[in-house]
Structures are given as structure tokens and as C-alpha cells.
Amino acid sequence: MTATTQSKQSSFAKRWRSLEAREGRLAWSLVLPTAIIVFGLIIFPAIFSVWISFHDVGLHNLNDVFNAPFVGFENYRKVFQDYAFKFQGWQSWGAAVTSVIYSFLATTLTIVVGLIASLLLNRPFRGRGLARSIFLFPYVAPIVSVAFVWRWILDPRPSGVLNDILMRLDLIDLPTAFLSTRGLAIVLVIIFEAWRYFPFAMLMILARLQAIDKTLYEAADVDGASAWDKFRFVTIPELRYVLGALFLLRLMWTFNKFDDIFLLTGGGFGTKVLPVLTYEFSFRLLDFGRGAATAMILLVILVIFMALYVGIVMRNVDEE
């Protein structure tokens, strides 16, 4: 009996002192600060947010959160019944449908514009480096500044610069309130997204474009392929993986994005997306339970979509 414990102890002690264990301990002490911060401020809050979504948490009991009354799916029921959330025909989409449509269209447009930009920069011309730097400006500049510049350009008064240009060109007769017209507002927000985020897509596509084997194009030339054929049958297949990954990444970020729409339209005029609705429930109505429930719904939609995407689209890519 004593002998076995002793041998256990000594084997433990041996392991504790072994090179491998020392390396492991050193490694953990190096990653520990990062791990604590990420766990404490991201992973734990994410789990805690599930808990909040099933409880009645408001400003009144914020200092005593852990004793908040359990309300089951009440918060979720309230969200699903909210007119800002649910779909009520094509005049009023509700935040869930708006979010999905907006994210899809914005992501697609961003990648198409990024693709065009990367094709432009892929051919040599004088000042290419400068053009590339300039193209990155929208992505690098702070969101607050660019959102407010756009609002100022789209100013509804006749002194708004876009109104002035369009009226001079006789395209419109009267000044338009661009960002406070239902329908037009969401289109402009989507265009803004493409303007701001195309550089990211451009950089990733450009890196892949420059790695395409030149002999593929030479072979296509020998076969008498036109420029369009070469694009369709050589470039696009080579870019497939990058485009697939880009789409997933950008879709995820666009779906989660709060600042852009909040600053451009405040979520009004048919542009209310789920992150903005979450913010309004939590920090305007101060109903944190309902806010958390909205955020959970957002996360569930996102996870379902990603699972479908990875399961269907990515697998097809692999099989081809």
C-alpha cells in the first residue's frame, strides 16, 4: 500500500520535474495573461449572456444581477412579438429579415467591388503602388469620420453635395432625403459597406491573383481563349477558395456590425438590423434581458448559416 503511493508520488514528482512538464508550465505561464483576459472578458460574458437572456434584468437590479428572477422564454417571446423584429410584409421587413438581406447583399457587393479593384491593380501601370495605398483609405479611416462624411455628402437639404450634383445633372427635380427614405436608405447603407470594406477583399484577392501560375494563361492563349474566357475558366477557378473564405468572413462581420448602420441612419427607415435592435433594447429601453435574447437570436442565425455554408458550399468546393 505504502509502496504504491510512494511510487505514485515519485512518478508524479518525476513528471513534475521532467523537461516536458517544465516546458508545459513555462508555456502556460506565458499564455496565462492572455487566456485570463480572453476568458474573463469574452468567453465568460458570452456564456453569462445566455443566462441573462432567460432572466429579467434591467437597470433596477443591475447591481444584484445574480438574484434576477428567472422568466424562462419570456424575453424571447417579447422579441419575437416585437414589431421592430418580426417580418410584416415587404413594406416593413423587421430586423431579422433586414439583417439577413442586408448582410448578403453588402457582402456580395463588397466582394464584387474588391474583385474589380484587384483586377485593376493586378496589371502593371505607372503609379500602381500609389493607387493601391489610396484604395486602402476607406478601410483604414475611423468609422465615425467616414460615416459622418457620408451623411454630410448625402445631406437632405439642397445644399447637400449629392443633391446639388444630381439636380445639376437633371437627374432629380427636388432634393432627396437619401438616408431617411425607406428602401433608398438600405441601398445606400449597402453601397457604403462596399465602399468601406472593398479594400479588405481587394488585398486578399490580389495576393491570390499574384500567385496564379502564369503558364495557365499561356496555355489558354495557345488554345485561342479570349480575355473573358481566361477570366471565366482560369482566374475564377483559381480564386474559388479565397472568394469562399472571404464571403464567410465578411458575412459574419457584416452580420455582427453595429457602428456602421447606427451612425449612418440610427437604425431608422428600414435599416434596423439585429445588432442595432439589441442596442436599443438594452440601452434605450434598459431591458437587458430582452437585449441579450435578441443577441442570442442573432448568434443562432449566424451559427446556423455558417454550419450550412461550411457543410454545403465548402464541401462542394472540395469535391470539384
Binding site: F125, L136, N256, T278, F283
Partner: protein, 308 residues
Amino acid sequence: MTDTQKQQTRSQGDHLNIIDRTARWITLPRFVFAATLFFFLTSVLFPFYWMVSSSFKSRSEISGREPVYIPSEWRLNAYQELFDPESPIGRFGTNIVNSVKVAVPTALIAVILSTLGAYAVARLKFRGKDILLNAILMVYLFPGVLLIIPLFAMLAQVGTKVGFNVQDNLAVLVVTYLATTLPVALYMLANYFRTIPAEIEQAALIDGCSRLGVIWRITLPLAVPALVSVAIYTFMIAWNEFLYALVFLNSRELFTMPIKINTIFNEPQPIPHVVMAASTLMTLPVVFLFLALERFLTEGLSAGSVKG
């Protein structure tokens, strides 16, 4: 290339005038290329021109019946208003200082912590590494609005127990920004460390150098470009961040620039030239920093390192 050369030799032979030469030079693909490039450049640059030029306009130019495309002179009215100590929308200097107070510590601490973590991830074997890496990657999935509610509730709890203010506390902002930037920084650096040959480090270890000595003397000097880009990115994220600052800051004295610009924008009487002046001041440092260090940075950008 060969086409151009052929055309050039042909036109030189014919002694054509400039108009004919350009007419020949412009083929359909060239025209489409030039037009697209022009379209891209104007749509990217015009908003920035409009921001900077509007900031130099006077109140009458800004509120006239028609937009003023080129300000008649370089007026500094908007900037004077912005730094006016008397006006509630003024004292922008304080806000600049607040932004620096948040962004610089975030960048420094993020570089230090992620260097240590990334070294362990790239070079050492330890149990739970995969779980840790996956947990860290999850950060990409969670939207900021999902985290802000529990963070707010949690920090309010901790704050009352330990005795610090959650609201109007710039240190709280630094810590939350660290949480959102550290994972990305760690991935970026770990990828870079893997490209440094391990043999150099092993040689130093055999010569009797300690692990920390190796990191300090060998790995860090070789990783300077990656360290610079991580520092710039975390700085930029903290400098630009809007949502957390909006929720955590209430007092005008402690507003970071984005929140201050938001309040100026939402003044009942619109003063776009002041908003544009503040935006210009906030944008210029970032754009210049980016241009100056672009060589290091674009690689990081295309590695998907900036969430946003």
C-alpha cells in the same frame, strides 16, 4: 507590352500628331481600364476631399443654399470652435488626450502579452493548446453587442465589490479593448514566429540561454516588423472604437474622440464644418501612420488580422 511597342514604332514612323496618337493608343480595353480606375479613385478620394475641405469652410459657406466646392480661403473657424474652452462642444484637446490615453496603453500591453502568448503557441508543446486556440478563435464569432450587456452587468458587480467605477473609467476601456485585440494579435504574431527558423533559438538554448533570454535576444529582434504591425493595429482599433466607449463613458470630460464627434454631430443646431474638422483631426494620424508603415501592414491586413 508588345502591343504598345508595336504601336509606338508605327506611330513614330507615320509622324502623327498628338491627337491621332492618343486616338490610336486608346483601345477599348485601355479605355475601360482608365475609366474604371478613374471611377475608383474619385469615389474613394472625394469623401476625404469633402471632409478636409468642409473643415475649412465658414459658417455661412456651410449653411448656404448651394454647396461650396472649394472654400474661398483656408479659414480656421471650425478648428477655433472645436478647441474653444468656453463652448460645450469645444475643448476637443481633452478628447484627443483621452483617445491617446486609451489607445497607447492598449497597443503597448497588447504587444507585450501577445508576444509572450504567441511564443508559447508557436514554439512550445503544452496540454490544452488546441482548446485554448479554438476558444481564442471564438472571439471572431461574437458580436460586440452580444458581449457588451454581460460585460456591463459583470463589471458593475465587480466594480461595486472592489470599489472602482465602471462608467467613466478609461482603464475599463483599455481592458475591454485588450480582450478584443489580444486574440488577433496572438494569431498574427504566432504565425510570424513560426517563420523564424527554430534552429537559431535552439543554438542559443544550447549555449545556455534561458527561454526568456531567447525571446528577448533572438526572437524579438527578428520579429520587429510583426511587432510594429501588431502595435499599429491594436492602436487603430482602440483609436476608432465606438460602441464600448459609447456605453461606458458618460461624462464629456472623459469622452474619447469618436463619442465626442458623435455628440457634436447630434447637436440640435447642425454644425457640419466642426464635425468635419474633428473628423479630419481624428483621421489624419491614422492615415499617415498607415502610409508610413504600409510595407509592414498590408501583409497583416490580408492575413485577416483586423476584425471589422
